[in-house]
Symmetry: C2
């Protein structure tokens, strides 16, 4: 079972690593990182460099496609080689998936028309213009399309999909293997739960904050 | 504020990326991946390659040290350049931290003697021989030493430490930024919670399973 994770410059690392660390533990899984060009790709914050081993033409029939999100997603919204590749491999996938703003790329490639899907909460409002019905759920299954909410939700998506692919025993073994017994120190992980000033900070300066830049009382140069 | 994440061959990716994606969003954070040699390092499953930009000698005064775990930890238990570096930079850190079996490396370097610390649940029994009092808690603070349980716990550790460093507002903003509102599909993330056969599978074949190899009805060649 080949699992292809699409990368591009300025991806968000955890978007890619959540599915990698869950789906990659499925029996028989072979994970391949794929991009328009092979070699070094820098994440959104620049300090992490991941090496891509396969070009688009090297990966023609993955069983599972994963498209992570990140600031670099905005450069992937026009039709071109990446969209053509996504459409071509999607024709043969068992599951086509995304994390965070990766769903906007799937939608722009035309795969999510008329479907329910999710995205990072700050980008959900971009979905209707792409013909997608936005959902606030953390993981959304619509046929073979599985979309997850922001960044960390790829772990939940990976486990839910692992259960569909290989059954509860395997998925629970993966969960215990990565000791996923989450105990966040705050209950602030969704806009309905976080303090209003926290939601407002991200609405106003999300791009800057998520790029690892300063905020609040410091200079915020980007919105 | 410099955050140094120590890498080595056969690290577990999520161990490193959890703290990266949380502490890396602190105001003024500068993350650097550091290793005995710069360049490509492969994770435990081999399919992920991360590029290390800094050699040990390039990083002399990090404010925060993060040591992730993974199968490659076993090669870092003897004294040598990595232990010398860990001891040298620890003398100046504000926080010295680990995820998963990274705490065994900190312990082997002599930093956790007489302290409470945690580790991946499958490796907790290795701690007493290193002079450490093992704790089953997910995140353990003992002085400036912060250790986290297996793999995914680095996200919780990163958020808890972000709160100590920069206060609740910033930590909650990071949590909402990465939309960390965990909803695992099973309650199987700790050995006390998972079905007995799941715990047994990992006790018997953990090394093979966590390396992304097959298990159960398939050939298990490694224990």
């Amino acid at each position: 079972m080949q699992i292809a994770i699409l990368l591009y410059d300025r991806f968000t690392a955890l978007d890619a690593i959540g599915p990698y660390e869950t789906l990659g533990l499925l029996p028989g899984a072979e994970v391949v990182f794929v991009a328009e060009r092979t070699g070094l790709h820098r994440s959104d914050k620049g300090s992490l460099g991941l090496v891509v081993d396969a070009a688009l033409s090297d990966v023609t029939a993955p069983d599972v496609l994963v498209v992570p999100g990140g600031p670099g997603q905005t450069a992937l919204m026009e039709d071109g080689p990446v969209h053509e590749w996504i459409r071509a491999v999607d024709a043969g996938t068992t599951w086509t998936t995304s994390v965070c703003t990766g769903s906007l790329v799937l939608a722009a490639a035309g795969l999510l028309k008329g479907r329910r899907a999710t995205c990072h909460w700050l980008a959900l409002d971009q979905m209707p213009a792409l013909g997608v019905e936005p959902s606030g759920e953390r993981v959304v299954f619509d046929g073979k399309y599985v979309t997850a909410a922001g960044v960390s939700s790829g772990v939940d998506m990976g486990l839910a999909l692992a259960g569909r692919i290989a059954g509860d025993f395997v998925a629970q073994t993966i969960q215990l293997g990565i000791e996923y017994d989450p105990q966040p120190p705050y209950d602030a992980g969704a806009p309905e739960k976080a303090p209003a000033e926290v939601v407002a900070a991200l609405r106003d300066h999300g791009r800057s904050i998520l790029a690892g830049k300063r905020w609040r009382d410091e200079a915020v140069t980007e919105r």
